[in-house]
């Protein structure tokens, strides 16, 4: 697959602190790549380096397999930590500055402002915005040139629950349109909900890298049991949501497909004339995985 980003032994030292340590990463086209890590694990520093705002101490990176990082940056939309705009300019005026730099024309400004829900306030000065609105404007700036790659550093930071849901949906929509997204977050739930791949950083070192759905392989496992074990087995085989199952003594561990859930299975069994006496759902979360990964490296 085409590699969007290759990071090669990238390191950054701030005085005594090794913020990023020999980091190696590859992001392929179409991935939604989550960078996980506790606070201070080097997520933002890494994103800062690949965006050329922080000078690496050692190592290198390449965008789109080309050497010109300045040109590459024009096809990347990015938000990095706090939103930074001219407080005395309105949203539209600020986006004009971004559009001019990105050489992408100003036609998209209204569209992206509507996309992030700022259109009503487009002519108000940036300094009058709440933190959530500022964050929305930086997302708008990132989307402005309709870039194939997005870098999002804590994209839901400062947003209210409604805003968080909106931004997550926005990210999913963008990902569904085939764009590559690199996202840093300490909200594991967020990564689990939107990312396809992830890595875990701690103290600047990469501890783990993997595919979200593979890592959470045991997701949506349901343990069921009934008095009539034989009939139950045939019902499980007949249930359209079954992906695989495992007989475990008198109970079954059923792995169900995306879209199916425990209630469907329960209903189905009931319709087929069997009453479950046990129904447990087992759902591994990225949080458990994450804590496990951190523990393994202690």
């Amino acid at each position: 697959m085409e590699k969007i980003l290759r990071i090669n032994k990238l390191s950054k030292r701030f005085g005594k602190i090794q913020a990023v340590d020999q980091l190696e990463l590859e992001v392929a086209a179409g991935q939604v790549f989550g960078i996980l890590g506790p606070n201070g694990s080097g997520k933002t520093t890494t994103l800062g380096m690949i965006l050329d705002v922080i000078a690496p101490t050692a190592g290198s990176f390449k965008w789109f397999d080309q050497d010109d990082t300045v040109e590459a940056r024009k096809s990347i939309g990015a938000i990095l930590e706090t939103p930074c705009f001219y407080p005395y300019l309105s949203a539209v005026q600020n986006l004009r500055v971004s559009a001019h730099i990105k050489k992408c024309g100003t036609d998209n400004i209204e569209k992206v402002l509507k996309q992030v829900g700022l259109f009503d306030r487009k002519d108000d000065k940036f300094k009058t915005y709440s933190l959530g609105m500022k964050q929305r404007l930086s997302i708008a700036a990132a989307l402005l040139s309709n870039p194939p790659v997005l870098i999002l550093d804590e994209p839901t930071n400062g947003l209210d629950p409604e805003g968080i849901a909106e931004v997550r949906n926005l990210i999913k929509e963008i990902a569904a349109s085939g764009k590559t997204i690199i996202m840093a977050s300490h909200l594991l739930d967020e990564v689990q909900k939107v990312c396809s791949h992830f890595c875990v950083l701690r103290k600047g070192k990469k501890l783990h890298e993997g595919n979200v759905s593979e890592t959470l392989g045991e997701i949506n496992k349901i343990e069921i049991a009934a008095n009539d074990t034989v009939k139950l087995e045939s019902i499980i085989q007949g249930f359209p949501g079954t992906s695989s199952y495992l007989k475990n003594g008198s109970s079954f561990l059923v792995t169900i497909k995306d879209g199916a859930n425990a209630a469907n299975l329960n209903d189905y069994c009931f319709e087929q004339g069997i009453t479950l006496k046990t129904l447990f759902t087992q759902r591994n979360s990225l949080e458990q995985e994450f804590l496990k990964i951190l523990r393994e490296h202690d």
């Binding site: 705002v53 000078a55 300045v70 940056r73 001219y86 005395y88 300019l89 001019h100 990105k102 050489k103």
Partner: protein, 275 residues
Amino acid sequence: MIRVLKLEWLKIKNYRVFWILTIMYLLALVIITSGGMFFLEWLKSEGADFQGINPTIIPIYDFPDIWQNTTYLATFIKVLLAFIVIISVNNDVTYNTLRQNIIDGISKKEYIFSKLAFIVTMAAISTLFIFVLGFINGSIYSHVWGIEYIFDEMEFLVVFFYEVIIYCTLAFLLSLIIKKAGFVIVALFLYTLMFEPIITTIMINAPFFTEGPAPEIAQFFPIKALNNLISVPFGRYVFMEIQDNVPIKALTIATGWFIFYLSSIFYILNKRDLN
């Protein structure tokens, strides 16, 4: 060039502080370059005379002397232009929009070029403004008239242009190093108009120093070097010998400083992490 200039234009065109400072600067230019005759009238009313000469007949607005006279006076308020540069750079530093600009896709080098283009444009506008003002004042008061006089000694305008660029580049550098705009403004103002002039005057004139290398060293100070580009012209009206051209030595020293400022700006910005 147009592209980087437009970037600066988008940043400042809706920024009220910029317009207030610009208008103040242009107004100050008008007053300082056109107020000469009023000043002489005032001297006359105060009963001053120069070896029996009526002050109002002193030909300060005669072509081509007018160019040296007005550019000399105008350099006193170049510090106002520097304030605009300081505020413009400082905004990008304190609001972190410099980082946003870079994330949006310019290089640090392009950023520096955009500020330099801004500086050059402001210097060009004030030079043009001075030319127009000088031309108007000269048309009103000059005792001589003719192409050969009007366009003589134009080098003072060129040097004024150059001096403003160097000085504003210094302001650019300072506001990158010191991130508090107010502090840079006060520091630059005091240093330019008080500290360095006092120090160099002492070094050049104090009996204790005149024997040693101090007077020579003083010529290398950054503001002194700029001030030396256009010498005090008014001595000529009391029949003193004055430097009525641009001294090559001062030009060389000033250029040396200019190169130093530019390379420092590139060095600092390239090394800096924009957190």
